[in-house]
């Protein structure tokens, strides 16, 4: 391990909300699959056309569901508890990210970085990652991926979840309108969950190939090794 210069890359609240989010998303996905297994078919529109589903993909195996056997009532309890935690944690992150300038400074890509996007894609494909001073900042692909998750997928999955509530639908019928019906909302909720899973898989791959211990340390302690020797 090169003993290079260490930089403080992730602030405490970023690390904190990141790991709370890891727990939330894991529980939400697994309990969500438990809930899905109670009726493993997806539909489009207001209602379930039982003989004409958009997808009837069968049930997920026990080892990916929470609890690890058919138990809808308990799956719902896990799901709603961690949904509240997920939303609270996300709101806290959003507030701090905007107030501290993290959002504007570190997440919104600069116009010049956007122009370099082809270059960044080629670097990623060759598994060449920024070193030294450059590693201090998120690169343009990271920024776009994080923005898509934070500003599109996360709000969308929460809204689609809320649109499945008959109580909220009564007070806010636009919840149904924006998704084109409750069953569409359920399908979109499912698609968002798997899009997030896809993001997490790519994210973990990138963590692995760009220096797993260095990345992990920086997300636990905040300190990242730039790989440069002391100058």
């Amino acid at each position: 391990m090169p003993n290079g210069r260490r930089i403080y890359r992730h602030r405490f609240w970023v690390r904190m909300t990141h790991w709370v989010n890891v727990v939330c998303m894991t529980v939400l996905l697994m309990s969500g699959l438990q809930i899905f297994n109670a009726h493993p078919a997806l539909y489009w529109g207001n209602i379930s056309h039982f003989d004409n589903p958009v997808a009837a993909i069968g049930t997920f195996p026990d080892w990916v569901t929470l609890p690890g056997s058919q138990w809808l009532a308990m799956g719902r309890r896990w799901h709603f508890f961690f949904a509240w935690l997920f939303v609270t944690n996300g709101a806290l992150y959003a507030l701090l990210a905007i107030a501290s300038g993290h959002f504007r400074r570190d997440l919104v890509p600069t116009p010049s970085a956007l122009r370099q996007i082809g270059h960044s894609i080629r670097d990623h494909l060759r598994l060449r990652f920024p070193k030294g001073e450059e590693a201090r900042h998120y690169n343009v692909l990271q920024r776009l991926a994080y923005l898509a998750v934070l500003c599109v997928l996360c709000p969308l999955i929460v809204l689609a979840g809320l649109a499945m509530s008959p109580q909220l639908d009564a007070a806010y019928p636009w919840l149904l309108s924006i998704f084109g019906g409750r069953q569409s909302a359920r399908t979109i909720h499912f698609l968002c969950a798997f899009s997030l899973l896809g993001f997490v898989i790519v994210h973990l791959l990138m963590v692995l190939v760009s220096g797993v211990w260095n990345n992990l340390r920086s997300m636990v302690t905040g300190w990242y090794d730039t790989g440069e020797t002391h100058g």
């Binding site: 529980v27 697994m30 809930i35 899905f36 109670a38 009726h39 078919a41 539909y43 207001n46 209602i47 379930s48 056309h49 039982f50 003989d51 080892w63 929470l66 609890p67 690890g68 056997s69 138990w71 809808l72 009532a73 308990m74 719902r76 309890r77 896990w78 709603f80 508890f81 949904a83 509240w84 809320l162 499945m164 509530s165 008959p166 109580q167 909220l168 639908d169 009564a170 007070a171 806010y172 019928p173 149904l176 409750r182 069953q183 359920r186």
Partner: protein, 257 residues
């Protein structure tokens, strides 16, 4: 030598990851059995209830749909043919002898035949039914407004919940279905005791002769085969004390989501 070490390390890491995974899964399943832990999970239901009550107002109406939106196949869930002999006798005579008992914390307890109920103020609505399993169907319901019935029997001020006791036994133990809603739900304009579905007498599979429609909650709240209604101040002494058959099996009493 180096390669050997690397393989070893990879093997050990894989082993650790596997063990952590297994530990997490069995740990979570053990937590699901732990009453102290599930009590923590249950706080979410209370938070959801307060948040939804605060954000939705008392009388927001569930969306009503057009005739064209009615489901060609409305799935019947739970009991679809009660085995209770008394119920079967009532069904054979077209529920001519069936009477709805209304009692508990009311000033004027009474019993009502189907034709008497049909003379009370009614409401017809085409609404969406959301099952806790995840599916939805749209149906047209006509029934007596529960608010009108409660006014008739004069609910006493200490009443807080309306209990529905049903004819259908859910399992071999013979425990019969029951449910409860609070007074906000009971006096909601769309809360009706339905005796018609899609312009026909309520079919047995859907709860004949009378079922509850509480349109802002999930399907399991909407008790079928109602025999008796009782107003109570609390339901901790009824059944297992959770307010309903499915609630006693671990489902939320607040079924707004």
């Amino acid at each position: 030598m180096v390669d050997h070490n690397r393989l070893d390390r990879r093997h050990v890491l894989g082993h650790i990851a596997g063990s952590v995974g297994t530990l997490m899964l069995t740990g979570c399943d053990r937590l699901s059995q732990d009453p102290d832990f599930t009590r923590i999970l249950d706080t979410a239901e209370t938070v959801s209830r307060f948040a939804q009550k605060a954000l939705t107002g008392r009388n927001a109406l569930a969306r009503e749909y057009a005739e064209a939106d009615i489901s060609p196949e409305f799935r019947a869930n739970g009991t679809i043919e009660p085995s209770d002999p008394d119920y079967q006798r009532l069904a054979e005579s077209g529920f001519m002898d069936w009477r709805l008992e209304v009692g508990g914390l009311v000033a004027r307890p009474g019993s009502f035949s189907l034709s008497e109920l049909k003379q009370l103020p009614s409401r017809t609505q085409i609404t969406r039914h959301d099952c806790v399993e995840g599916w939805s169907c749209i149906g047209k319901w006509k029934g007596v407004r529960l608010a009108a019935l409660l006014d008739l029997v004069e609910a006493r001020p200490e009443a807080r919940y309306v209990m529905f006791f049903c004819a259908d036994a859910m399992d071999l133990s013979g425990d019969k279905y029951y449910e409860s809603i609070d007074l906000d739900g009971a006096y909601h304009p769309q809360t009706i005791l339905a005796y018609e579905m899609n312009d026909l007498p309520l079919p047995i599979a859907h709860g004949a002769p009378l079922r509850l429609r509480a349109e802002r909650q999930l399907g399991y709240k909407m008790a079928k085969y109602i025999m008796r209604i009782e107003l109570v101040a609390d339901f901790s002494q009824i059944g297992d004390g959770k307010g309903g058959y499915w609630e006693d099996q671990g489902y939320e009493w607040w079924a707004g989501i």
